[in-house]
Amino acid sequence: MKRWFNNPVLAGELKIRMRSWRTVLMIMGYLAIMLAIAYLFLETSMQTLSRYGSVNISRDLGLQLYTILAVIQFMLIIILIPAQTAGSISGEREKQTLDLLLCTPLSSLAIVLGKMLSSMSFVLLLTIASIPLFSLVFLFGGIAPMDIITLFVFYLITAFAVGSIGIFCSVLFKKTVTATVAAYIVIFALGIITLLLGAYMTSEFAGKNPHFSGVYIAFPFYLNPAIGLFDLLGQQSGGTGGVGLTILGVSSAMYNANVAMTGGLSWMAQKLGVWGTNSVVISVIAIILLLISAWVVKPVRVLKTHSSKRHSADASVN
């Protein structure tokens, strides 16, 4: 475990990243977009507030601002992460530095993880930089600091999942350009396909069970972090923030406990909620993708069948 965070690839990558002007420009551009949107929103809604100012309206405005910022940040992360990760391995290949890295004793998994973690820390940096903006929401009430922390954790999980697709493409394709385009196509195609498939399955289910009164959530929805985000936001705003899973016809029904749930993984959703289940599912897929990526990057692949002797020797030492 210690070795993971003492990862030389991560350390080197961070050093290089933090030195480059691109990073600085990106953070500035990122904050500028967020700030512009927050400003536009406040500018238009302050008038409403000053005219009909009341506690309830203020709280609703806060929730709306929070939702808008959260969705924009989510979109920015989805857009930035593939560009950050899709060049990670193919870029080393193009720069002809990959061989130098592969002939060190570093495992290919450590290399892939180092790349992944460095992209994640970039996301972490962006989200932390956006905290002052998010704290505007506290002026209106309705959202607690813990909500924001939960949201950020969900961002990291999303970044991890989306990033693993980027890394996977980076490993498969020789050129960064191809890998980046492929990553965007895969990510957006997955986003749309999971939504359509989920919606189709939901209507099929409704057609077959006209009298079902519980909640049915089709499995493909758990593959889409946008669903998790809307569920999380709906939950945080107490189902009244105007978002939530209304698109699925579930909305606040979800948050009244004791609703019968069916559909794939409903046992997990009952315990962790939709966004929790969503996080688990996409994390598992991301881990599998990273393991496959590490396997593909590995220059010399041997199926170790005859070295069980050595393995057992290792085990006895531990």
């Binding site: 030389p8 290089i16 480059s20 061989d99 002939c103 004793p105 220059p299 041997v302």
Partner: protein
């Protein structure tokens, strides 16, 4: 130190390395010579655990590259023929980064890196960004990089390409120093004359096969077994060639501008009659000198013979 046994590497149907066997003794410098596409880089990449062989085996210090690649990686320092560097990293940090990859503790790798920068003559560039260095400097830095973990075997794929003559001499000195430190070195090059001075043994590879290998001196003797004479003329090139062709001891004649290079099967004392014959025929000779059979010619000969087979 390095044992290659019956190594075969196929890309689809193309055979890049064809049943190659060779051994590099501990402490030796082994020159790996061959024309473009002969399979040098392929063989070296297999030894550096970057490529899996189709069949056969390579062992470094007793460890098989396929079975124990990590142990092999700790034993070897590999310098590829083409390589890149990271932008935004200084020379010192570059070495530090690779040192960290080998799990060397911070203090120790800083010390090693300083020492190696001195060794390769880049001490004054320690705080320069790597991508601002010249190509030859990058190559020396890459050599330093491959030495960070104090490997026993160095695998250098054409380290001298891209270096100016001065840098080549410096490289040669560095390699001598490394040899004195007890390192085993496998070096490939196109500059054969350089290898001949530096290497204990050489292997000539063509079409993935080892054509000749062994002690440098032995190879020179067995393959050429004769003298090379350079004759410089003012004029009358064709007449000189005709006269030389009639000489029974002259084996072959190469023409290069105003210079003739001939293979001569006789001994030293047979040379002056040759010169006398030429002068007597009024050929305007301005220089006539015996050169030691150079590796380049050995190489040309061996590879030509191969092609004729």
């Amino acid at each position: 130190m390095l044992v290659v046994e019956d190594l075969v590497k196929r890309y689809d149907r193309f055979v890049a390395v064809d049943h190659l066997s060779m051994t590099v003794e501990r402490g030796h410098v082994f020159g790996f010579v061959g024309p473009n596409g002969a399979g040098k880089t392929t063989t070296m990449r297999i030894a550096a655990t970057l490529l899996a062989p189709t069949s056969g085996s390579v062992r470094v210090a007793g460890f098989d590259v396929m079975e124990e690649p990590i142990k092999v990686r700790r034993k070897i320092g590999y310098m590829p023929d083409f390589f890149g560097v990271y932008d935004n990293l200084k020379a010192m940090e570059y070495l530090d980064f690779y040192g960290a990859s080998y799990g060397i503790p911070y203090k120790e790798r800083q010390k090693t890196a300083e020492g190696l920068l001195n060794l390769v003559g880049l001490a004054n560039k320690r705080d320069n960004y790597v991508d601002s260095l010249s190509r030859g400097m990058k190559q020396r830095l890459c050599l330093a990089r491959s030495l960070m973990h104090d490997p026993e075997l160095l695998i250098l794929d054409e380290p001298a390409s891209g270096m100016d003559p001065r840098a080549r001499v410096e490289l040669k000195n560095i390699l001598k120093e490394l040899k004195n430190m007890g390192k085993t070195i496998l070096i490939s090059s196109h500059i054969l004359s350089e290898l001949s001075e530096m290497c204990d043994s050489i292997g000539i590879i063509e079409h993935g096969r080892l054509v000749v290998s062994g002690d440098v001196k032995n190879i020179m003797e067995t393959v050429s077994g004769r003298l090379t004479v350079r004759i410089k003329l003012l004029d009358d090139m064709d007449r000189a060639i005709n006269i030389l062709k009639e000489q029974p001891l002259v084996s072959d004649i190469f023409q290069e501008d105003d210079m003739l290079e001939i293979g001569y099967k006789g001994k030293d004392e047979d040379l002056w009659p040759l010169l006398k014959t030429l002068v007597a025929s009024d050929v305007p000779i301005i220089s006539f000198s015996k050169t030691d059979g150079n590796l380049e010619k050995v190489f040309m000969e061996v590879t030509q013979d191969e092609e004729m087979v």
